[in-house]
Symmetry: C3
Subunit: 316 residues, 3 copies
């Protein structure tokens, strides 16, 4: 899409070259064919070094746009990014893609759907009612139990087991809101990747990234009814029990253990090798390793036990 | 069904006209062709003004039944209402209804099921494995991702996006219990309505109403794995993050925001424009607007922070 | 499988008869054709009386193995049990089993799958997209709403209602872990049984047992989005509201009531006739009956109210 068309959609004008824009991306990751935006003041510092072809900015931030980039000045950059995301979202299925490839020894149930452009490895089992979207790649020796849904462009590795009803790659919970309380959907043009040797329980949901990838790393174990939000990384060999939830963009290091009904806030970084008791609510990043945490807001498990003891004595 | 047949089923007798009863309903909403009941003492006051054709009452409450209505005296009104609900529940599908209507430009995957009597608008996409029950109405430009299930008689508006595995219109969690600890199912003869411009995440569940409608109002946003119980109203433009839950008959005003893993008790009324932090447990109705709440039982966010501070100091 | 083959797989040697092993089981339940193991020191006492054909033990525990049993000495018994579980897990479907039997008056939607060896009773309704695995038995007058999944070897009784998207019999969350943080899946060779007159809500998950049976007893009621882990027993007439979760091997007596978003830890025993308020976190076994509990860690409801009162006063 030409910059001039984009400017028209969002009701602004610009000076500079009328470049062809291929996609949207963050300031850091945008290439010279992508459009970016600044919605959060803390990312203003990333404007001058961005390679983006053009950047959605406000009157206040337009001065930081570098020479290689075109400034698109609007009032609400996040809202306009949401408006544009719809134009860069691919269709639900790729009707022009080549027919799906099914590897040797793999079986696909007659009630399963494998969209065009998908590739399935060897000795993989796709059971009844499974949906595999366009361009999805599935490795070897993987089992997709009945009614698993994998949205387009996502990947599942080899030696994985995905239990019934689990959804991989649904759009994350993202939208811009205006002063009238209306919400504008942000189409999620990233994907979700499940690496090799991962087991995921039943009816769990793993959202695709806004841009980039939501990632479940090698050897991880997720139980039933778990929520993994957009842009999370769930570290190598990490483990989460049922009904736990991980808010957006949280990066979980390797071999963490999360008890049932626990959760993390968004945009955190969790160092490797920690344990979070059932119902933990992780509100801050964790820099240490080898610790056991509990409670909400979370604290070291010992401290939590101490508080519970104090509370019990309070009423005696 | 004739009143005389009903009386026979529940083992009672009555004096008065042997009316034809078409359905069950609450005292307030029952018409002159419907049967009602009083199970909760606080609704006894609604008996004298009810238009119901007949009312299930006990020996103690029969005196309040007005002249236009027949008193059906039983020992356990709630149990007998449950018994009768089965007789007024429609069949799972309407085999006699006309063939489903699919609007111009809409597509229905070959593995999807659209039951007789359903109507789908224009340019709507029904993906693989979706089930659309009898008499369901879907608007224009709506996307139903794979394996979404919409029970009979429910409605989904235009410009909606319903992600994979979400269930709309399942029976609410309702039953009468006796002293032996047995439970008698209350068949839910209401429906669920999702208004225009609503996005619902993956594997979320929205129960149909006992009588009347469970409603997700225009512009609302629900994330993954959320529970909306029977007879809730989720207000215009309101937003709920993953794994939150809303108990029965709670009325949520417009533009409320619920964090992940939060929840509300049943039969509450929540004023518009409030924010509830992650894990909030809303135990009472909220009359004010513009506030931020947290904790369980919930309180103003500031108070919650203060308590957490006190607790932290307690163990130092 | 011969003991000699097993010894080869796990890299050990043994003295004694080269028996034929048919399955894996616990020390207590293993028959003379089954292999057992000791992973937890508290079960060492069960070794001498086990009828198992052979037992995975360490150098330290091999001395307790009785004469009727062969000692298979390994370094990590739990890991090797996990390794072997794969060999005793049945195939995903029984291609050699007889065609499924469908009772008189039952209907199976054209998009549903009923695997070979399954048996469905009379007047049962199997709606669109349902998957019924090999050897599954379903009773009479039961309704399976769209996209329900029942894994192989599980049972659902008569007069049951299972709402859309619910998964019964998925593998429990079980694996052995080594010092490198790698996990070895424990294939679950038990099953899940739902007895008569049970209603289960939408998108709930009930895991199969490692060995033996996960059981939902007669007359129980489970709401939406509930997790029942492997080897639980959910007692007769017991009731759980939405988003509650029950960790592995917990035995819940009859007519317990669990509020929404509540949960129990694993390996507990809960006496009959108790009530657990919403969000209760049950951390210990309950020996009394007729009580009402709340909080996390849970306590009597009165105590919880008292603590909340104290906390509220703390900040005034």
């Amino acid at each position: 899409m030409k910059l001039s068309e984009i400017a028209k959609i969002i009701g602004t004008e610009f000076t500079g070259e009328d470049k062809e824009i291929l996609s949207l991306n963050t300031l850091k990751d945008a290439t010279e064919h992508e459009l970016s935006f600044v919605a959060n003041p803390k990312y203003v510092k990333d404007i001058p070094t961005s390679k983006a072809a053009a950047i959605l900015v406000t009157e206040a931030t337009k001065e930081y746009v570098p020479n290689n980039s075109v400034a698109l000045v609007v009032e609400d950059t996040y809202w306009q990014m949401a408006v544009l995301s719809k134009y860069f979202a691919p269709p639900l299925e790729e009707s022009d893609a080549p027919e799906a490839l099914i590897g040797e020894g793999s079986s696909v149930a007659s009630t399963a759907t494998v969209a065009r452009g998908a590739k399935i490895g060897k000795n993989t089992t796709v059971m009844a009612g499974v949906y595999i979207g366009s361009n999805v790649e599935i490795g070897d020796n993987t089992i997709l139990y009945p009614n698993v849904v994998i949205y387009r462009d996502c990947k599942v590795g080899s030696d994985c087991i995905i239990h019934a009803g689990t959804v991989i790659g649904s759009d994350g919970f993202g939208f811009a809101s205006n002063r009238l309380g209306e919400h504008k959907k942000i189409y999620h043009i990233g994907n979700a990747v499940v690496e090799d040797d991962v087991e995921i329980g039943a009816n769990t949901t793993i959202d695709r990234a806004v841009f980039g990838t939501t990632r479940i790393e090698k050897g991880a174990r997720l139980d039933n009814l778990i929520q993994v939000a957009h842009n999370c990384v769930f570290g190598k060999g990490s483990v989460a029990a049922a009904q736990s939830g991980f808010a957006g963009s949280t990066i979980i290091g390797q071999n963490n253990v999360f008890g049932a009904q626990s959760g993390t806030a968004g945009h955190l970084t969790i160092a490797p090798f920690n344990t979070f008791a059932a119902r933990s609510g992780v509100t801050k990043s964790v820099k240490e390793s080898g610790k056991t945490f509990a409670g909400f807001p979370f604290m070291e498990h010992k401290a939590w036990l101490k508080i519970q003891g104090k509370l019990a004595r309070l009423i005696k």
